[in-house]
């Protein structure tokens, strides 16, 4: 049984647009925040440790996102993360967002591990990979 990681976020005034719904750009920030919390809480490494101490990065390679229904101010958005594919350097996350069980968006979010000194891909270290593998759900 693969693990999932979920966080809940309150949709803030600052995330909504003059149309009264979440400006789509904020969903990508919410996805990034979910990945950041997953690294901290489940992999045991803060983004500060990753980026500023170890000089690693996980820049985005590609993303595909479908937006099914708008999110509104004061919604409680639940974001759920699994890994669709774990490569040598790459992690393809599947992240979906629901409000009271109603699906709002679904994203494929692929990142690759790099060295911030060379900006080249590097293999994910074995100790991190071992923790990540629990979240692999190939058909997520």
């Amino acid at each position: 049984m693969s693990k999932t990681f979920s966080v809940e976020r309150l949709i803030r005034f600052s995330q909504c647009d003059p149309g009264g719904i979440v400006y789509f750009v904020h969903f990508f920030d919410l996805c990034n925040g979910t990945v950041e919390d997953w690294f901290t809480e489940m992999i045991g490494m803060t983004f500060n440790e990753i980026h500023l101490v170890r000089r690693w990065g996980f820049p985005i390679v590609d993303t595909g996102c479908h937006f099914y229904r708008p999110c509104r101010l004061s919604d409680r958005l639940k974001l759920t993360l699994t890994i669709a594919k774990l490569g040598r350097s790459s992690i393809e996350f599947s992240i979906h967002g629901t409000v009271d069980g109603d699906e709002k968006f679904r994203a494929r979010h692929k990142v690759a591990m790099i060295s911030l000194d060379s900006y080249r891909a590097i293999p994910i270290p074995d100790d991190l990979r071992a923790k990540m593998e629990a979240y692999v759900t190939p058909h997520a």
């Binding site: 590609d62 595909g64 708008p70």
Partner: protein, 144 residues
């Protein structure tokens, strides 16, 4: 001759993250800014009026975006916008960006016209559709 809408934006300090490159959600904000400018200057439909006076909107339905190369503080990002498919209410855009000659992000980005009085899709207004058609290139494929 098909039209291509092209704009340039400076990459600012606020766009960049602690890794020293543009934080990727800001690319989507820049993509949206390019679309707003396309409405206002390319389609001659002031985007603020479209939203506020006409109570219409163009929410994102889906996006597929490849991040090919980074952009850094001080760079100038050029963005090119084309229409690749026009549906009844949906507009699929090809939005490519460059720093000098290096590709940055490449996006297929679908929006739809809707009214935010009911949050339902509405057909693209005829006058706007006629202008959008000038940018339509169904066979367009981004280079590389």
């Amino acid at each position: 001759m098909r039209k291509v809408f092209r704009v340039e934006y400076p990459i600012l300090f606020s766009h960049c993250d602690p890794a020293g490159i543009v934080y990727f959600p800001r690319f989507f904000d820049l993509l949206h800014t390019a679309m707003e400018d396309w409405f206002t200057y390319g389609l001659e439909e002031r985007f603020a009026d479209f939203i506020v006076k006409k109570k219409l909107g163009v929410p994102t339905v889906s996006t597929r975006t490849d991040f090919v190369g980074p952009a850094r503080f001080g760079d100038t990002l050029a963005i090119e916008l084309r229409v690749v498919r026009l549906g009844r209410a949906s507009i699929e855009l090809a939005i490519d960006s460059f720093v000098e000659d290096r590709p940055c992000f490449r996006s297929r980005h679908t929006v739809c016209t809707f009214t935010h009085t009911t949050y339902k899709a509405v057909p693209i207004p005829d006058d706007l559709r006629a202008k959008m058609t000038e940018y339509l290139d169904e066979s367009y494929q981004a280079a590389g």
